[in-house]
């Protein structure tokens, strides 16, 4: 099989990025019962803030070094996420789910419009974050920036998994997702849990977005569409499953990569890779409506 390793690495890399963005989505849903259609725009804001600090002319003290610019962008994204939760979504607690969805869709349009107002909608060159020299790996040639992206996304996913599995705060967040009142009865602050969920979601979205921007070498406001692209991932893994988001992301990344690499050429179907995830989504929903790892409703008999 030609190109197997490069396709595998691309698939894993994209998959890990999808997993990151999907994880933010799942976290917010699990903790606060909000289906957040503005996840992609949270990412957009984070990426554009970084871009402004590093590359936009006329910005004070520019150019900022990457670590500082990224840290500042993460802070902005976290602040925005927490503010949205506090000011927009918390007052909606108890409202029908469809109202909440409409509000997050409206929010996504608003954020996108704000970003467009500042930066325009045209494609902008995004300066490379990682070195991109070519590396020989098991006889194939791969650029270093893909390995960097894969490494960073993978590491972040690993750290988050460990956090939710073993840390006291992670356990408290899962406990609150299970039974808010019982969590409250042991002193777990639900407000804090909500804020942490939105913060983590903003951080993973921004980092995922930066990796995509670095990969593409350019950005425009349609970068926010990733928020919709991870939908098949989230449904595949289960709307409320953290491992599901990770495994779902990697499966979809692989399917895209290998179908682009092998099937498209063989079948002559351009763009098959962007349709296949949705085909898979429909099939999964028919066999397992809660997704592969969706939370089973525990009913003892």
């Amino acid at each position: 099989m030609p190109n197997f390793l490069p396709l595998l690495i691309t698939g894993l890399m994209n998959g890990a990025i999808y997993a990151l963005v999907a994880l933010g989505f799942v976290l917010i849903y699990k903790a606060t019962d909000v289906i957040n259609f503005a996840q992609g725009e949270l990412l957009l804001v984070g990426v554009y803030v970084t871009f402004a600090l590093v590359a936009e002319t006329g910005f004070p003290l520019r150019p900022w070094p990457w670590p500082l610019a990224i840290a500042a962008a993460l802070a902005v994204a976290v602040g925005l996420g927490v503010l949205i939760e506090r000011l927009v979504l918390r007052p909606l607690i108890g409202e029908p789910i469809i109202s909440v969805i409409m509000v997050t869709i409206g929010l996504s349009q608003l954020l996108r419009a704000i970003v467009a107002a500042f930066f325009g909608t045209s494609q902008r060159a995004f300066p490379p974050i990682f070195p991109s020299h070519v590396i020989e790996l098991f006889g194939t040639r791969i650029t270093a920036d893909r390995l960097w992206a894969l490494g960073i996304a993978g590491l972040l996913l690993l750290l988050l998994s460990l956090f939710f599995r073993f840390s006291t705060t992670g356990i408290a967040m899962r406990a609150a997702a299970d039974d808010q009142q019982a969590a409250l009865s042991m002193g777990i602050s639900i407000k804090r849990v909500f804020a942490i969920a939105w913060s983590i979601a903003a951080v993973v979205a921004t980092i995922g977005g930066l990796l995509v921007a670095n990969n593409n070498g350019g950005i425009n406001t349609s970068l926010g569409n990733i928020g919709l692209l991870v939908f098949p991932v989230v449904i595949l893994g289960g709307l409320d499953s953290i491992p599901g988001a990770i495994i779902g992301g990697i499966i979809i990344g692989m399917i895209e990569s290998f179908s682009a690499g092998y099937l498209n050429v063989k079948l002559g179907l351009e763009g098959l890779e962007s349709v296949l995830p949705y085909v898979l989504l429909i099939i999964i929903l028919m066999i397992r409506p809660y997704g592969l790892f969706g939370r089973e409703i525990i009913e003892r008999v």
């Binding site: 356990i171 408290a172 406990a175 299970d178 019982a182 009865s185 939370r295 525990i298």
Partner: protein
């Protein structure tokens, strides 16, 4: 240690549930709070632990004091930190978490290093939990879940536990076992206990002092030995008539005598 002074509790701004309730719990005691369905027992516990707010309930009159401090305006997290832990009705374990994760959730307010030792202590009280430590708690039996709910409370190292119907839906033998452990927790850990029960006979057999509630008020309070001898209590709560024959408290005569407490 805990004193409730003449409190009034209202849900949704209109539903008056507690109507001037007072009670006292002394350090080291087990105090039983008895009453029929809807009397307001759970509401009383929630007004102590600060769990009324999420249900849109509020203490609108009177005070609750714990160790000399007013707690009726504090939020639930503060009250847990002060040493009061409510084990809610219906066990309420975190179903998708393992036994051990449930126990760690119970220790949430603590930041000391003793958590591991305390998990071992809980397993010593409830060896069955140790066997199932990595199992999702949602798949455990009702009795095991009740053990977990009590063990989880121990993890917070409370000075006072509020237990809401720990015998609910459990087989008699298991109830015996759990009540034995409640007594041990009281004696060996020095945890003061306020116990809400439907099973009056059982509650009075372990408690030092008892309160009877009707319709949002305390209608009788005494040492348990005296309560057990009281004719009304024998008849309505223990289901024993004058001649010790079992008898339903739904009978008309009982109803009339119950009425008398209300006036």
């Amino acid at each position: 240690m805990l004193s409730i002074n003449n409190i009034e509790v209202i849900y949704n701004d209109v539903i008056l549930v507690l109507k001037g309730l007072s009670l006292e719990v002394r350090e080291g005691q087990i105090v039983a709070l008895l009453g029929s369905n809807g009397a307001g027992k759970t509401t009383t516990l929630k007004s102590i632990s600060g769990l009324l707010k999420p249900e849109n309930g509020a203490v609108t009159d009177g005070t609750i004091e714990f160790m000399g401090q007013r707690i009726d305006r504090r939020d639930a997290a503060d009250i847990v930190r002060m040493g009061i832990f409510q084990v809610m009705e219906g066990r309420r374990v975190f179903e998708h978490l393992t036994v051990e994760e449930n126990l760690r959730a119970g220790s949430y307010i603590r930041r000391d290093r003793g958590v591991k030792d305390d998990i071992e202590k809980v397993y010593a009280y409830f060896p069955r939990l140790r066997e199932r430590r990595h199992q999702k708690s949602g798949y455990m039996s009702g009795g095991e879940q009740q053990m977990l709910a009590i063990g989880r409370a121990l993890m917070a190292r409370p000075t006072m536990m509020l237990l809401d119907e720990p015998s609910l839906g459990l087989a008699p033998l298991l109830v015996q076992e759990i009540f034995g452990i409640i007594q041990r927790i009281n004696r060996d850990e020095g945890v003061t206990i306020l116990l809400v029960e439907q099973n009056a006979r059982l509650a009075l057999s372990v408690a030092d002092y008892g309160y009877l509630m009707e319709n949002g008020r305390v209608v009788m309070a005494d040492e348990t030995a005296k309560l057990r001898d009281n004719a009304d209590v024998r008849e309505f709560y223990l289901g024993l008539g004058a001649g010790d024959t079992a008898k339903s408290y739904r009978s008309i005569k009982s109803y009339k005598r119950r009425k008398r407490w209300l006036s």
